[in-house]
Assembly symmetry: C2
Homo-oligomer: 254 residues x 2
DNA sequence: ATCGCTATTTGTCTGACTAATTATAGACGA
DNA sequence: TCGTCTATAATTAGTCAGACAAATAGCGAT
């Protein structure tokens, strides 16, 4: 079989062997990761459809569907004769769950992590306040269950981290604000990476579970201001820990 | 030409005559509007690709590309044999610019408008505070220019409303937080409709321009807390006005 | 500097085949 | 007889190939 890889001039990607799901999806994923990780810069023109689809060993239609996905998420833009080019970062749907996942596929940059935490710091305290006003009993139960799971499994296990995310998700859901709920994927991503960094660098310095319970108690007691403050503390501490872990990573020893 | 419209049983859509741009885009738009406006409910199964593409008088591949766009935005999900069905609302990318535009194509519901304002109330004051810390001179100039435009054209003209949106956009941009900037389309949509409602119902009751200048002055003076408070007031008033306009719309006379 | 042409690239269409998965009907066992 | 499990069939999205159409960026002539 002819590989046709030629020189390394044009970035080339062999499609993942152990791909999952449909082809157009895996192509979109491959290209999406290449774009958000900077292998293609904004303004760069992708190979034309025929060359690109041949290089990836897929049909042109499958490749085109992949491009439509990326275009829908604001990553690329196509025009006849001009080709398909990577859009400026300001058009990227950074809060889209898939785009976010692609970002975290390669290790995300420090700045990006910082800005996600800033977003958390803005959104979550207010969300907790709204949740304290609007949560129903079923949601409250889910929060309690999540925290219990979190306690049992600890954040060292994937089950524990999933419970952590469930808790924050449920708070967002309890705001009864649909656009706000949409942010759960972004916030979940920030939560996940906070924990991963902390876990990676040291025995977790501070047990975050009591702080979680304080948020829960305030929401359960329907005290918005108290919930806002508790969440502020919780997110603030997470932010500090992540900052410290990042500083250690880039500046210090292994 | 055979119309083949048959009975009115299955919802059918003639493709927009005065369509713009590419076919897959206009099909996605048509279906997207049908979905977000409730003509298709979450869980509903769309016609299979062959029937649907025939009914719309487009090729199957164009139709499929449209479906890929909708799937990328979380509106639908396709599986072999099961067909393509409308996803639950919780998966919709409500903050995506196009999805938002589709929402506002039909008149948006009161609840939706309210939740967008809630989002503004959460995000914009903090954004103004960050902007006060991080804005550069060029951004400050753009804010000033926008407000001057707004004064000259007034909110009765499209140019004035565009300037309003530019101001809020630039504040978001000045936060130097990419995920936050992504929200500008959602906030812009809320801003636009606030103004439209106010304009529709009465001579605008309150001149919002002085409140805008207060935000600007605080950002120019690099006073985060002051900027936060000024923005809080500005958004709060907009929220009140919209609420009043909505109440009048649904409850009162023309 | 402007206009018009042309070559390139995406866009669209057709029709066939593939693969996945649900649903069904039948066999088997309780 | 009833329920459950299993092979099978039917349906649907997924993929592929190749052709033609439409748009337009870039170039050359004016």
């Amino acid at each position: 079989m002819v590989k046709g890889k030629g020189s390394g001039a044009d970035g080339e990607f062999e499609r993942e062997e152990g791909f999952s799901g449909r082809i157009h999806g895996s192509i979109a994923r491959t290209l999406g990761i290449a774009i958000v990780s900077g292998q293609y810069a904004p303004g760069d023109v992708l190979n034309n459809e025929i060359d690109a689809s041949e290089k990836l060993h897929v049909s042109r239609s499958a490749y085109r569907e992949a491009i439509r996905i990326l275009a829908a998420k604001g990553l690329v833009e196509s025009r006849p004769k001009a080709g398909t080019r990577v859009s400026p970062r300001s058009r990227w749907s950074l809060l889209d769950p898939e785009v976010l996942a692609w970002f975290f596929e390669a290790e995300p940059s420090e700045e990006f992590l910082t800005s996600l935490h800033e977003l958390r710091m803005i959104v979550e305290p207010s969300a907790a306040a709204l949740a304290a006003e609007r949560r129903n009993d079923e949601q409250l139960e889910r929060m309690r269950a999540a925290l219990i799971q979190m306690q049992q499994h600890t954040l060292a296990t994937e089950a524990g981290r999933a419970a952590d995310r469930d808790f924050h998700d449920t708070v967002l859901e309890a705001t009864d604000n649909e656009p706000l709920r949409t942010l759960s994927s972004s916030i979940g991503a920030a939560v996940r990476w906070t924990t991963i960094f902390k876990q990676r660098d040291r025995e977790l310095a501070r047990d975050p579970i009591p702080d979680h319970w304080k948020v829960f108690d305030a929401i359960a007691a329907s005290r918005p201001d108290q919930a806002r403050q508790a969440m502020e503390r919780l997110v603030g501490l997470a932010q500090d820990d992540t900052r410290a872990a990042i500083a250690r990573r880039s500046g210090g020893a292994v």
